[in-house]
């Protein structure tokens, strides 16, 4: 019975696939935790940064920095979709790319030029294939984003923004809400929104607002130094969120794969047993039939 044998080897193959998906699931589970604690560790810096920025912005007044300034005309828009380098993580990357394309359509409908700075191999590959205008692609980032990596992305767009060659920058990433939920999020990176840095955004403690700081050398210079750094921090945060989300998405995808492999193995095994049983029954029938024929002779 060659068919039964084929099913048997199919079962073996599904079993080994399941072993792989099961392992990937466990690896992802472990990595979520680490990525999450990395987000936690980065939080004090981000909060403090907004705090300081707050008091500086108050001192200097609004609109006194090129990165805060809204360009008169918005002609060129940059979208930074943050995707993963590896696949097997469900709709993780597609969610990001679809959002990015939605912004693309919206902005081009208003007659604006849109280009991309792709982060992650998956996004870069997709955008290149769809023949979008790509300014830069970062495919070398790991799943443990560092400040230097974030700076590489941020510096690029900050420079272009200050030159005036671009007028708006969006960053699109998966926000890590929990191990079960990741939310594709669109954030306007540049120009930096006033509301973000003056109150509201930061957890400015009561009484902290009234403190008059002394600035060395002076407030304007401090602001100039601080804002690009703030943009870095925002990018870093997005990268970290995305890394954690990727692991979470992969865990779910691999869990589903493992579950359906288990189902498949069950069905195949049932089929195989039935076929084997049928074969035995038939063999017995043949032997009995043969014996009867001999007796009659």
């Amino acid at each position: 019975m060659s068919k039964a044998r084929a099913v048997l080897s199919r079962i073996k193959s599904v079993e080994s696939t399941r072993q792989i998906t099961k392992t990937m699931e466990m690896v992802a589970t472990a990595k979520i935790k680490r990525a999450q604690s990395r987000i936690e560790a980065a939080r004090p810096y981000a909060i403090k940064m907004v705090d300081v920025l707050n008091s500086v912005a108050q001192h200097v007044g609004a609109g006194s920095h090129p990165l805060l300034e809204v360009h008169e005309e918005t002609k060129n828009v940059v979208i930074i979709p943050i995707t993963s380098n590896r696949g097997l993580c469900g709709a993780f990357n597609m969610n990001i790319l679809r959002r990015s394309e939605a912004i693309y359509r919206e902005e081009t409908a208003q007659g604006r030029e849109v280009s991309f700075v792709a982060v992650g191999r998956k996004g870069a590959g997709y955008l290149r294939f769809a023949e979008y205008n790509i300014i830069a692609a970062h495919t070398e980032f790991t799943d443990r984003p560092t400040f230097i990596e974030a700076k590489a992305v941020a510096d690029e767009v900050v420079e272009m923004y200050q030159e005036g060659s671009i007028d708006k920058v969006y960053i699109v990433f998966n926000h890590f809400k929990s191990a079960l939920e990741q939310k594709p999020t669109i954030h306007q990176l540049l120009p930096v929104k006033q509301a973000e840095i003056s109150g509201g955004g930061g957890e400015a403690e009561a009484g902290g607002m009234s403190v008059e700081h002394e600035f060395e050398p002076d407030a304007v210079r401090v602001l100039y130094d601080l804002l690009p750094r703030y943009v870095n921090t925002v990018v870093l945060r997005a990268l970290m969120e995305s890394a954690a989300s990727e692991h979470a998405a992969r865990r779910i995808a691999m869990k589903n794969a493992t579950d359906s492999a288990t189902d498949m193995i069950e069905n195949l095994t049932r089929w195989y047993n039935r076929a084997r049983q049928a074969q035995i029954t038939q063999e017995i029938a043949e032997i009995v039939g043969g014996a009867n024929a001999l007796q009659e002779a």
């Binding site: 004090p44 705090d51 008091s55 400040f147």
Partner: protein, 136 residues
């Protein structure tokens, strides 16, 4: 009587490097060295590449701070460092290797200005790490 000590926290974008009390903290600001003691007036200043010295009782702690920010208010000092390492956590071998590599690079690539600038900054970082590590 107001607090006799100040609270000092060194945070980098990736983690909290140091957190504790101090009698005095000396940092290298862009305008020169800066000593912060309890009840200093609120201040914000960018930091140069340099070492941070934290004095607490008889103890001293050295931190290599590779650029960043200093903020002091309400008796709390926060260093927002681009990168920071405690003296005893510095990988001396790695810093030394980096120093040698950069020195070679600078010697070789005297041609392009930009390359040189980056290498020089990198060399200075390595030197600061080494200096701080030796004190710790």
């Amino acid at each position: 009587m107001a607090d006799r000590k100040l609270l000092c926290e060194v945070v980098s974008p990736e983690n909290i490097v140091y957190s504790g009390e101090a009698d005095m903290v000396v940092a290298l600001g862009v305008e020169g060295e800066l000593g912060i003691m309890p009840q200093h007036i609120p201040i914000v200043t960018p930091l140069a590449l340099g070492e941070l010295r934290i004095f607490n009782g008889g103890q001293r702690e050295f931190v290599a701070v590779l650029g960043g920010y200093l903020e002091f208010r309400e008796n709390k000092l926060t260093i927002l460092a681009d990168a920071a390492e405690l003296s005893h956590e510095i990988d001396i071998a790695r810093a030394e290797a980096k120093r040698i590599a950069r020195e070679h690079e600078i010697a070789e690539a005297k041609a392009s200005g930009k390359m040189l600038l980056e290498a020089e900054v990198s060399l200075r970082k390595a030197l600061i790490r080494l200096r701080v590590a030796q004190k710790g």
